[in-house]
Symmetry: C2
């Protein structure tokens, strides 16, 4: 009896999470030195939690191009380090001021603000150190391509730019259009998800059309992911999500849901997920896991 595709996907996601967790653990600094407090904060905030969806995208993309496990896991770890750093800094009092993350106190609550700032800074540096290392790929041209793409995705024209837009939108409390929110989310979360989905193609030196197909997939799926995030902020419980909910509404923040309403937002997420799956056609059955991910993203409760 074949496993249901839903069950298959859960197993693959769990496998990706466990393997990347082990790799991250090995790559993170440790040791009984004076500065170990920052090592502990880096470990506290990057290990032991999260869906590791970005890592899954890297691993699933890498299998399409017969990329080895070690390059894929190291690249996935680098992306998870950047993701973890962005959450640490986003949670700071001067930013979103959150006390809870993945069901645990946020980094600055567990340690202190200074340590949290430094842990985020060091996680970003670690991501680039990992990508540039020869263990990530034998060809230095591939490693520079990875560094370059991650730096763009994480920088002022990517994730950080999106975070800036988000902060400004909250302060101005102005009427936002769907176009503006889409632009914001493409930067804030979309850039890193895009890199996650295309990293396998870079590692496997895939042709441009193959890489573009994955970029199209990431483009649509990233937006679906964000719409569902907005829905969960309204419908989910803090217990399920491991973080505070209802924050967007309380802050009077424009989201896909506040503009479209729950029903249209849900329909839009479903439509984007199907559109994402359509980009996978060139890969045939080999892309089944990435196909299943589109269903997971829409159906998820956390």
């Amino acid at each position: 009896m074949p496993l249901s595709s839903h069950r298959q996907f859960d197993i693959a996601l769990g496998f990706a999470a466990e393997s990347v967790e082990r790799t991250m653990d090995r790559l993170l600094p440790s040791g009984a030195v004076g500065e170990a407090r920052v090592f502990e904060a880096m470990r506290y905030s990057s290990l032991g939690g999260g869906k590791r969806l970005r890592a899954f995208f890297v691993l699933a993309g890498a299998t399409l191009f017969k990329v080895g496990t070690q390059p894929a896991l190291r690249t996935a770890s680098a992306i998870e380090f950047v993701h973890a750093y962005s959450l640490i800094h986003d949670d700071l009092p001067a930013m979103d001021d959150d006390d809870l993350r993945r069901g645990k106190p946020t980094c600055h609550k567990q340690f202190d603000e200074a340590t949290a700032i430094l842990a985020g800074d060091a996680l970003q540096a670690l991501a680039f150190e990992v990508l540039a290392h020869e263990d990530t790929h034998g060809d230095p041209a591939v490693r520079t391509a990875l560094v370059s793409e991650l730096a763009k995705a994480a920088g002022a024209r990517g994730m950080v730019g999106g975070q800036m837009l988000d902060l400004l939108a909250e302060q101005e409390n102005s009427d936002q259009t769907i176009g503006a929110i889409t632009h914001l989310q493409r930067l804030k979360t979309g850039a890193l998800i895009s890199f996650s989905c295309t990293a396998g193609a870079i590692l496997g030196k895939a042709s441009d059309p193959m890489r573009m197909a994955l970029a199209g997939y990431a483009h649509d799926l990233g937006l679906a992911f964000q719409i569902v995030d907005d829905l969960l902020d309204i419908e989910g419980s803090a217990e399920e999500l491991g973080k505070a909910t209802g924050k967007d509404e309380a802050a009077g923040k424009a989201t896909f849901v506040s503009i479209l309403g729950v029903e249209r937002a849900r329909a839009q997420a479903g439509m984007l997920a199907r559109q994402a799956a359509a980009h996978l056609e060139p890969f045939g059955e080999a892309a089944d896991l990435l196909r299943q991910a589109t269903e997971f993203v829409v159906a998820r409760r956390t």
Copy 2:
């Protein structure tokens, strides 16, 4: 009539500062987009100030190995971006809580804390983006070596680790030994200075002994630089330095000067500077500018 070596050095330092400033200006993001506030903060804190001593070390080192101007200037810019990001984050209220930097309001005073955190984050990403770009060097193996070395120098076992030690030392207010302070400074400021001094050797694919000679130079000069910083914190004026002075003493912070006293600290800085110059012997006259830099570091008033 030949120029005095002092005058020669001033001209070279000024030239390095101007050229790197132009390169940084070109590399920094700009444009009238919604997220431009973070671009402005990045520009505010990285342009228009500073001695650019790190950039000078890159350019002076690069001339020893006949490295082109563009690779050297791009590498120098990347290092100055990391240096600028570290100052922005160090100045934050949760860290050193400084209002003045290079004679101007610090980034979080001029903008706000959230923007300052993001500007620092984006400057770090930009540094790696610049190094990984093909314009920095035609050989991707050289570019990955640069990324790798910068990431180590900036990370938890380098600059950030040193900053963590510094914060802990302040909180504990404990008796510090010269050994502990030396270790702290080798991480906090030494790691990035070492990379600055050896970057030219990486760009020029120099032999290991040549690179090690420059590493030895950087090692001693970095420490001399820090001792003079401590002396200036006691003897300098805020007007001259463009930042608050007397902070170490007020905080009861152990420094080279608080342990050794002014006279012995000054003697130690002079000894280290001469020791640094001795490492340059293999390069002959070609290293005259780096030699003059050792005198400058000890004699500087800002």
